[in-house]
């Protein structure tokens, strides 16, 4: 990825509140069939989320993680939405 970094808009929401939204360079989502890494220009996809950690590498290379159970993830036009059934807490690394 030489030159300009490609960015995806990420929006993580739980049923009763928004969890995080912002710009990220990569996101790893625990789908039912294993972890799926998403970079910019991924093909449009709608997948079910299983149990595990959503890991987000943000624009400025800091990391965020949410422990989630169930939900769905949809990606198109470099915008990623994760609707989470249950969020069991987040552990941020490098939080400012």
């Amino acid at each position: 990825m030489a030159g300009e970094k490609r960015i995806i808009d990420v929006n993580v929401v739980a049923e009763d509140r928004p969890l995080w939204s912002g710009r990220a360079s990569s996101v790893v989502v625990p789908t039912l069939e294993g972890y799926m890494g998403i970079l910019a220009d991924h093909e449009p996809i709608l997948a079910l989320v299983g149990e595990g950690n959503v890991q987000i590498t943000t624009e400025d290379e800091s990391r965020k993680a949410f422990k989630v159970v169930g939900g769905f993830v949809s990606f198109e036009n470099n915008s990623l939405t994760i609707g989470v059934d249950k969020c069991l807490g987040n552990d941020d690394e490098n939080e400012q």
Binding site: N11, V13, A14, E15, D16, R17, P18, S21, T31, L32, E33, M36, E43, P44, I45, L46, A47, L48, F72, S74, E76, N77, T81, G83, D85
Partner: protein, 315 residues
């Protein structure tokens, strides 16, 4: 005219009621902001799931019972959202009135409505009258969480998905109060299931604008502007998981707007009650003063009268 003592005790009790109403009003107004925040916080999720359903509708044939059942069944589920506590003016009674009207209408159409009730007030209303209620839920009507939305939607979704001969229902209506603003709340009936899918050949932006503006029960889906999608694990499983969640999220939305309406109508009712109590105290105080004056006047006339009589005797 009543005695002064009677007036005094009525004034005292009205004053203490006024204090209660006033406190209730203040509690309600402090909760409205919170109810609104909760409703706003749940909005991104319902937007996200709406969007997901929309993309599914444009990429697969939505051949799922949720968009319409093709069987001969006249059973219909009706869910009424009432409140747990009273002191909310006509909130519960207007819900019950509309529900009754809807039940009668369905009866006239030859359908067999089944009633589901949320909220202690509504439950006790139907229990007292010995009516058949399919299922009830109580608690937290003024701050409904995801859990209660999940319970309600599971029950109703299962009732909907059951085949007709096992007692399934063909349609599902919800009667709730829409929050328009602080002074206006309107009872609305919407058909929750089957979901109406309207495929519109419109650009995606236009559809988004339209859906944002109206919270109309008709779900509008754009058709041609989405790129090709892939589904994981496969389209059917995604559908089976997302659609119940979509229904749950819409029920939750109704619960939240009903909760905001309940709080607002409680605040209004308590405001009016406080005003009434104040004017009642004023009126009673005036009457008390009038009786006091009347009794003083009477005493004076008696004194003057008896003095006159004494003077006459002396002459």
């Amino acid at each position: 005219m009543a005695s002064q003592l009677a007036f005094k005790s009525r004034i005292a009790s009205t004053e203490s009621l006024e204090k209660i109403f006033n406190a209730q009003e203040m509690i309600a107004s402090s909760r409205i902001a919170k109810a609104r925040d909760v409703a706003l916080a749940a909005k991104p999720y319902s937007d996200a799931i709406f969007h997901a359903v929309k993309s599914m509708a444009s990429h697969t044939v939505l051949d799922h019972p949720i968009t319409g059942k093709h069987e001969d069944n006249d059973r219909v589920a009706v869910l009424a959202l009432t409140s747990d506590r009273g002191m909310a003016g006509a909130y519960t009674s207007s819900i019950i009135r509309e529900t009754e009207a809807l039940l009668n209408r369905l009866d006239e159409q030859g359908k067999k409505p089944e009633l589901f009730v949320y909220g202690r007030r509504g439950v006790s209303y139907y229990k007292y009258r010995g009516r058949d209620v399919a299922a009830t839920w109580e608690g937290n009507t003024d701050a409904p969480g995801v859990e209660i939305a999940e319970k309600i939607s599971d029950t109703l979704y299962n009732a909907y998905m059951k085949p007709a001969k096992e007692g399934g229902v063909n349609e599902f209506y919800i009667v709730f109060t829409e929050f328009i603003n602080m002074v206006t709340q309107k009872v609305r009936i919407i058909r929750m299931l089957p979901v109406e899918v309207e495929l519109v050949d419109d650009s995606y932006e236009g559809v988004a604008d339209k859906t944002k503006k109206s919270s109309a029960p008709v779900t509008t889906f754009g058709h041609d502007s989405y790129p090709l999608y892939s589904f994981e694990p496969n389209a059917e499983e995604v559908l089976d998981h997302i659609l119940p969640k979509y229904v749950q999220s819409r029920i939750h939305e109704c619960l939240l707007t009903a909760a905001a309406s309940e709080t607002a109508s409680r605040q209004n009712a308590m405001h009016t009650a406080t005003d009434n109590a104040r004017s009642l105290v004023e009126e009673l105080t005036r009457k008390l003063n009038a009786t006091r004056q009347a009794s003083i006047t009477q005493e004076l006339t008696e004194i003057v009268g008896s003095a006159d009589a004494l003077n006459n005797e002396e002459e």
